[in-house]
Amino acid sequence: MALDAQHTAVRYAVEVAGLCKRYGDVVALNDVGFTVGPGELFGFVGSNGAGKTTTMRIMLGVLAADAGEVRVGGTPIDRETRARIGYMPEERGLYPKMTVRDQLVYLARLHGLSTNDAHTAAENWIRRLGITDRRDDEIQKLSLGNQQRVQLAAALVHDPALLVLDEPFSGLDPVAVDVMSEVLKEKAAQGVPVVFSSHQLALVERLCDRLGIIRDGAMVAVGSIEELTAAATTRLRVGVDGAPGWADDVAGVRVVGDDGDATLLELAQHADEQAVLRAAMAAGRVTEFSRYRATLAELFRNVVVEGTAQ
């Protein structure tokens, strides 16, 4: 697209620094900070009520922070820069009685595109997101998933220099998830920093370069998947033809789960692997014995649910 070429050269990094926000007695955010480099896909995860939406709203200026700031390319974000953000709010919203095309053209124009560019961009995204045959329908007549596609188009139609998407994958069918993933990767490849929140950790793990985990309004982990999972405790996968529960009494070992073929174990910092192997052999024939890297889901559970931040 002609539009893209014009902006790819601009490479911004987005910094969120020291954000604080209170709602009465509720501390929604407490010193939240992270950086998203140009062309980086950043996953923002955390339990319900952790503060993801609040952070994103502050980034968009829809909500005012009590303290802290958002910087783009080193300078505090202003109106003009905000107009270059593509935003998908958590609570989706478009004019129910406007047609898909009119809606997208209007939003593009509000972001400063000329009438012609707005039409071109709207048609492009309509085609790209597979809603061509619905383009003259009112939004309210579309299924939820299709409304969501329009919502993504609305976030992209003005060729944003930064994408902030609040749970963009919720409510999408697998095909749409793929389309959405492709689009996000493509935008990142163009140098656009992409921040999105999600509860689908497998997806975040597959898609993101880096991620941030937020708990009760504070960042508890920020980094690449490798960094975060490597820093976590040693994990073993042990297959034994024997009675389950064989590992319960081994010192410094915690049973994390069982995937049917093997038992998943987590070892405390100085626990002895050899002791585990001995216990396994005592229980029955050992079919498998390997280290494995923690999945994001496990990391998340550790960091968020059990509160064992590193």
Binding site: R82, G93, L107, L110, A154
Partner: protein
Amino acid sequence: MTSAVRLVAQRELVLRLRTKWFLIGTLVIVAIMAGYVLLQMSFFGGEDRSRIGFAGQATGLSERVADAAAELDIDVETTTVVDLTAAKADLSDGSLDAVVSGTAAEMRVLVKEELNPRLRAVLTELSRQEVLTAKLAQAGVPDPTAVMAEANAARVDVTAIDPGSAADDQRLAIGVIMVFLLFMSINTYGTFVAQGVVEEKSSRVVEILLATIRPWQLLLGKIIGIGLVGLIQLVAIAAAGIALALAADVLTLSSVAVSTLVWGAIWYLLGFFLYAALFAGSGALVSRQEDAQSVLTPVTLVLVVGFVAGLNVMIVDADGVAARAMSLVPLLSPVLMPGRIAASDVAVWELALAIGLTLATIALVTYLGGRIYHNAVLHTGSRMKLTAALRG
């Protein structure tokens, strides 16, 4: 970023002008007004018109009768009667009012029941003149026609103490209609502003809008856009009404009508801006269309009270103390002032004061309404308290 305001206004304007309800609504109101005008015509025009048939020798009189009737402001339509039997049938079914035959000096008039007394006077006068002319000639007066012309030219000299009052009924009617139209327009389009605000809140589209433009731009654009739609409708309806009434001769004061229209448009704008900010602020307090009515009722109530009370004092006496005082109250002026301008003569200082007070109130209300809107528009869930919205 005033282009944002223009874009928002444009969206409202185009979307609303395109709906079939705008067209249908406008046409229905014009049709009602046309019906009203026709009703007036049949009361004051149609009933008054007399159809007179002239038979035989009397045919030559038709023009003189028509002229004499016109002089007395009697509307007559003349026809020639050939077949007397058919004419009698026309008399009995009412399509003819009288059939004149005979000579000017000895006129015979055939009617169904009785002859309209004013028409009788016209015919009698004509007959008398004919006899008089003949007698004058008999008496040897040299130029009887000249004497008759001189006699006929004699007029009484009338001086009216209150020359306007003959037109007062028409002016009051124009005023009342204008008050009604203004009340309707301000109320309807003000409610549209509130509904638009609530729609943006309930559909949550407001969040992406406000991620791009500022609240005041969204609000101002919306008010301008919807206000223009209302203005277009008001002017279209009023112009159509005036044109109809003038064409049908129900209305003869075209200058009053035009000035009423111009003032109506000006006061519509003042009133709309005044109430739009109130409506928008109220609408912003709620997040669901179902809750809208409860917050809009107080605003609508002020308008309705002003309208009903104002209309009553105006009909009783448009120049009375009550009407004059009420038309200066800022929230009531937009509805009452244009009515008074049509119905009576408003002093320049009164008009200036009313406009000044209204503008000042607009500034205040826009500040408050804008503040409420700004603080409440992103608030979701339950209805927001007014005090909380004002504090922010």
